[in-house]
């Protein structure tokens, strides 16, 4: 029973990761790519680690380390995305042509 639940969790996680990577290739500019990739890949990896926890049982060493790894990823991945978005804007990457508004550019001057 727990094997089935773990494998289903890992399958959903890998589906989300594939969606994030396809978004990384398909979307038009760096901010949209960053959004799709960060959300989907973070949640997908957390679901894979949750599947590991379910497959191995909560008390085994692999499960405890997987929980620590999931907490690290949930804390660090949005921070890295934030730093990259700010760095890209200060580097001078423009938004997509059909974007609606850019208040950050307006306030920086």
């Amino acid at each position: 029973m727990s094997d089935t639940i773990g494998l289903i969790l890992i399958t959903i996680g890998i589906f989300f990761e594939l969606a994030g990577c396809i978004g990384l290739v398909r979307l038009p500019d760096i901010y949209n790519r960053l959004q799709a990739a960060t959300k989907c890949v973070t949640m997908g990896t957390c679901l894979i680690l949750a599947g590991c926890v379910v497959l191995k049982g909560i008390c085994s060493p692999i499960a405890l380390k997987a929980i620590i790894c999931a907490v690290f990823i949930l804390l660090t991945s949005p921070t890295a995305a934030h730093a990259l978005a700010r760095g890209a804007h200060l580097y001078g990457v423009k938004l997509w042509d059909k974007s609606v508004c850019d208040m950050y550019e307006k306030d920086k001057k």
Binding site: I14, G20, C21, L24, V41, K65, C69, F72, G87
Partner: protein, 90 residues
Amino acid sequence: MNAALIYQVFFGALLACCSLCIYRISSGPTAPDRTVAIDIMGIVMVGFCAILSIVTGKDFYINIAIAWALLSFIGTLALAKFLEGRGFDE
């Protein structure tokens, strides 16, 4: 036998994710695009190591996953700070 087939499908899907990231690294129009793809590939590899630790039943792959997550985060922060001070290629 059935389980082994499922794990092979998992590894194939994760390698497809990595090849999409490598496509973005090789063809990204600007430097921040490449940095984003490198960061995302680091997190995908963490999931890869976790599945590897289940398949082989060995503990140390998950240690590799934790170390990889932290090192990827620090490297991305350093690259982002470097991008703020303008430019390495172009």
